[in-house]
């Protein structure tokens, strides 16, 4: 897998997993691939992948059943959407607005 160099690899794997959940590829309350399998799939050190899983767990997106594996939390989809929305508003939108202004474009919002 190709990684960009603008954010840490563990963060990019975090986002990859979040997107798989958001797209419905991995469903709520179902088991996801192990850290080892994910490490193999993306060709990344398993300790780095473990960090992504730990962060997803801390954010309530996945949970760990000891000795069995990681599962998608109930309500994870809505939760990821909330996180992504606020990230879009606080990080991506200001950049977009700046670019629009730079190019002399205006957006009109119709209610």
């Amino acid at each position: 897998m190709q990684f960009s160099d603008d954010k840490p690899i563990w963060r990019q794997i975090y986002e990859l997993i979040a997107m798989r959940i958001l797209s419905g590829e991995w469903r709520e309350q179902e088991r996801i691939v192990s850290v080892r399998e994910m490490a193999q799939e993306v060709g990344v050190n398993p300790n780095t992948v473990m960090r992504s899983y730990e962060r997803l767990e801390a954010d309530g997106i996945i949970f760990n059943r000891r000795g069995i594996g990681f599962y998608v939390s109930l309500g994870a989809v809505a939760h990821i959407r909330d996180i992504e929305r606020s990230k879009f508003i606080s990080e991506e939108l200001p950049k977009l607005v700046e670019r629009l202004e730079l190019l002399g474009l205006k957006i009109e919002v119709h209610e």
């Binding site: 160099d5 954010k7 840490p8 690899i9 193999q40 050190n45 300790n47 780095t48």
Partner: protein
């Protein structure tokens, strides 16, 4: 665990290649061994294997001197040198002869690795290209399931698709009971695999830290005002720098920048990592 204490070596009495190397490498990690040409990375790997005797200092493999060539040491250790000679027999034949030294050797796994890397284990090794031979040897070494795998410039000679296969195989290989040590200049090939970085220079070990420790203390990328810059490079994306991480946020580790920073400003890097 592999440890060295005040290790020094020279091929002639006038020339010293390794100077006062004290380091430890634990299982559970993929260690990247980095250093400029001629600094002695390959020599260090050979000393770890007990192929050569140190001028002074010591090497221990799980507490045992590898020069004693004990069975429990040698059966847990494999090195893939950058260049090697293999007999002119097939890999299958080579494995049949050599595998008895490695109690956890798995023939089925070796054939699987051969298939993934696209190399035929049934043809004579000398009829293969250098790159193909390297793939064959990698397949054999991985299948030995040793707990300490040493690789010297493993991606040299590998074609582009094999490099990503190589990364996937190694990512699946390492676990709490195993370590991999990769000596390389091709950091881009293995950047995402490494989770511990060791940088050597003429004075000894400049840095031995996990990638998460590194990112805790250092910031990589474009600088903002007020950053304590240790090293910077002009690139097409603007000035890329290594600075002190004061925000506590993780940036994207660039081993190339880290290496250049360590080589040009070793004292600043040492100061940051020695304060625990």
């Amino acid at each position: 665990m592999i440890t060295t204490k005040s290790l020094s070596f020279g091929y002639t009495s006038a020339q010293q290649v390794l100077n006062n190397i004290t380091l430890s490498m634990e299982r559970g990690h993929i260690h990247g061994l980095l250093g400029c040409n001629g600094i002695g990375k390959t020599t260090l790997l050979k000393l770890i294997c007990g192929i050569m005797r140190p001028r002074s200092g010591e090497v221990r493999i799980d507490g045992i001197d590898p020069m004693m060539r004990r069975k429990e040491t040698l059966s847990e250790l494999i090195i893939i040198p950058e260049e090697f000679d293999l007999p002119n027999i097939s890999l299958e034949r080579y494995a049949a002869v050599t595998a008895p030294f490695y109690p956890r050797f798995d023939r089925g796994a070796m054939l699987g690795y051969c298939e993934e890397l696209g190399v035929n284990p049934r043809v004579r090794l000398h009829s293969l290209s250098m790159g193909q031979r390297k793939k064959a040897y990698i397949a054999f070494a991985l299948a030995c399931n040793v707990s300490m795998l040493l690789l010297d410039e493993p991606t040299n000679g590998l074609d582009i698709p094999s490099k990503s296969v190589f990364r996937r195989l190694l990512a699946g290989y390492v676990d709490e009971s195993r370590m991999v040590v990769i000596s390389t200049h091709q950091v881009a090939d293995v950047e995402q695999l490494l989770d511990n970085i060791i940088i050597l220079n003429e004075q000894g070990v400049m840095l031995n830290a996990t990638t998460s420790e590194i990112c805790e203390r250092l910031k990589f990328g474009r600088t903002v005002e007020g950053d304590k810059v240790i090293y910077s490079e002009r690139t097409i994306q603007g000035d890329m720098a290594v600075s002190v991480n004061e925000s506590g946020e993780d940036s994207s580790l660039s081993i190339e920048l880290l290496f250049n920073a360590t080589v040009t400003n070793p004292h600043a890097i040492a100061a940051i990592f020695n304060q625990k």
